[in-house]
C-alpha cells in the first residue's frame, strides 16, 4: 500500500481541470456621506483567462458578510450566458466580504484496463467503488473545497469580515485590501482548518491577459506562518489563486483534500 502513494501523487494532478472562477465588483473602495448607502455591482463568471467573462457561474447564491459580521444576500441578480451579475447596496461603514457559497464536494476517478482516459465520478471513493465495473483499477478520490471571494470597503476599512471559520483553506488579509497599493508590498495569511498553512501555492495574475502575450503571473508559496508577501507592480485588478493539498488520514471516502481560493482584489495608484 505504501508503494502506491508516490504513484497516486503523480497521477493525481488536478482531478478536475477547472476554470478560474471569480467575483469582480465594480468598485473595491467607495466613499459616501454618513447614512447614505452606495450601490455596487459585480460580475460572477468562470473562464480560462483572467476577467474574460465566459461561463455563467451563478450569482444567486452569493453571500455578503457585512462589516458587523452578519450574512446578507444580493439585492438582485441576473444569470446570463457568459456571466452572472448581482447588485448590492453598502449601507454600513467598513469592509464587506463577497463570497460564493462554498460546499465541499467529492470527486473520484478510476481507470479501466486498456483505456487511457480515466473515468470521472462526482461521488466519494466508497460510492464510486460500489458503482464502478469489476475490472476498474487505480481508484482515487479527493475532497474538493473552493472559495471565491472579494473585499469591498465603504469609507473607513474594518477587519471583522476577515474572521475565519476554521474550515479548509482560508485567506486572511494582513495588509488591509483597502490599502493594497502599486509598488508596495502586501501580505496575506493562509490558514487550513484554522491553523497557519505552510506550502500553499499562490498565483497572482493582473487583468488584461487578452492584450499581452505573456501571462506574467507571480508564483509564491506560503511560509511556516502561512504568510505570503508580494508587490503589485502596477495599479489595477488582480486575480489570486491559492491551492493547498493534504493527504487524508482516513482514506475511505477520499485520499486527499484539495482546497482552493480565488480572490479578486485591486491595487490602487500610489
Amino acid at each position: 500500500m505504501k508503494r502506491l502513494i508516490p504513484l497516486t501523487a503523480l497521477l493525481f494532478q488536478p482531478l478536475t481541470q477547472a476554470h478560474d472562477r471569480w467575483i469582480l465588483p465594480t468598485h473595491f473602495n467607495v466613499s459616501a456621506e454618513d447614512g447614505k448607502g452606495v450601490w455596487i455591482s459585480a460580475d460572477v463568471s468562470a473562464s480560462n483567462q483572467v476577467f474574460e467573462v465566459d461561463k455563467p457561474f451563478g450569482a444567486e447564491d452569493v453571500l455578503i458578510i457585512t462589516p458587523e459580521g452578519n450574512t446578507d444576500r444580493p439585492s438582485s441578480s441576473y444569470r446570463g450566458s457568459r456571466r452572472s451579475v448581482f447588485d448590492y447596496q453598502l449601507t454600513d461603514e467598513g469592509t464587506y466580504r463577497l463570497e460564493k457559497e462554498a460546499k465541499p464536494r467529492y470527486f473520484s476517478r478510476y481507470k479501466i484496463k486498456g483505456q487511457d482516459k480515466p473515468v470521472r465520478s462526482n461521488l466519494d471513493k466508497a460510492a464510486t467503488h460500489a458503482a464502478m465495473p469489476k475490472d476498474a483499477v487505480e481508484l482515487e478520490g479527493a475532497l474538493y473545497f473552493s472559495r471565491v471571494e472579494s473585499y469591498v470597503t465603504l469609507n473607513k476599512p474594518s477587519d471583522k469580515a476577515f474572521t475565519p471559520k476554521g474550515e479548509y483553506l482560508e485567506l486572511v488579509p494582513v495588509t488591509h485590501p483597502a490599502d493594497f497599493v502599486e509598488g508596495e508590498p502586501l501580505s496575506l495569511k493562509l490558514l487550513f482548518n484554522g491553523n497557519p498553512a505552510q506550502g500553499v501555492k499562490v498565483n497572482v495574475v493582473a487583468d488584461g491577459t487578452r492584450y499581452r502575450n505573456q501571462i506574467e503571473e507571480m508564483s509564491l508559496v506560503s511560509d511556516k506562518d502561512g504568510l505570503v508577501q508580494f508587490t503589485p507592480a502596477k495599479a489595477g485588478r488582480f486575480l489570486l489563486h491559492a491551492e493547498y493539498e493534504e493527504a487524508m488520514k482516513d482514506t475511505r471516502l477520499a485520499d486527499k483534500t484539495v482546497s482552493e481560493i480565488f480572490l479578486t482584489f485591486e491595487a490602487s495608484l500610489q
Partner: protein, 165 residues
C-alpha cells in the same frame, strides 16, 4: 512528361518563380512543464507586402467547431475569418511538443504559384493558460537561397527556414 507540362504552366503564367523553388520550415514546439499545460494552437502563414494573407501552411487547433480560432489573433484577422473553406481544408489537431516539418511549394491557398515580391512568414503560437508568440520572417521572391535559424521563444524551440530556388 509531367515535368514538361509543369514548365509549360509556369512559362504561361510568366510571373511565377521557378517551379522547383520551395520553402521548408522546421518548427519546434517547446516542452513546457510549468502550470496547466494544453497543446498550443498554432498557425503558420504567409502575408504579402500589403499584409494580406496569401497562404496558410498549417493550422493546428482543438477541433471544437471554429470556437478557438479567434484566439490565434493575427491569423484569424488576416486569413481565417475571410476564408472558411481554406480553414476547413487546412486545419488539423493540436500537436504535442516536438519538431515538425512543413513544406511549401510557394503557391497561394488556391494552388497557383506565388508572384515575385516581398513576403513575410508568420508563426503564431497560443496556449490556453499560457503565453503567445508571434514570429515573423521577411523574405523576397525569387530572391537568393537562404537557411535561417529562428531563435527559441517562450513557446517555440529553435526553428529553421530553408529556401531554395
Amino acid at each position: 512528361m509531367k515535368l514538361k507540362s509543369l514548365l509549360l504552366v509556369s512559362a504561361l503564367c510568366g510571373i511565377s518563380t521557378s517551379t522547383f523553388a520551395q520553402m521548408q520550415l522546421e518548427l519546434s514546439l517547446k516542452e513546457i512543464t510549468t502550470g496547466q499545460y494544453h497543446r498550443p494552437y498554432t498557425a503558420v502563414w504567409v502575408e504579402n507586402s500589403r499584409g494580406e494573407s496569401v497562404k496558410t501552411l498549417a493550422l493546428w487547433v482543438q477541433h471544437d467547431g471554429h470556437k478557438w480560432f479567434k484566439d490565434i489573433r493575427r491569423w484569424w484577422r488576416k486569413a481565417g475569418r475571410d476564408n472558411p473553406a481554406m480553414v476547413d481544408g487546412v486545419s488539423s489537431a493540436t500537436r504535442p511538443a516536438g519538431k515538425y516539418h512543413l513544406d511549401w511549394d510557394l503557391s497561394y491557398d488556391e494552388g497557383k504559384p506565388l508572384a515575385e515580391g516581398d513576403y513575410q512568414l508568420f508563426i503564431e503560437v497560443v496556449r490556453e493558460h499560457g503565453g503567445r508568440e508571434l514570429i515573423r520572417h521577411p523574405f523576397s521572391l525569387p530572391g537568393n537561397d537562404f537557411n535561417v535559424k529562428l531563435p527559441a521563444t517562450s513557446e517555440t524551440g529553435e526553428s529553421q527556414i530553408h529556401y531554395s530556388r
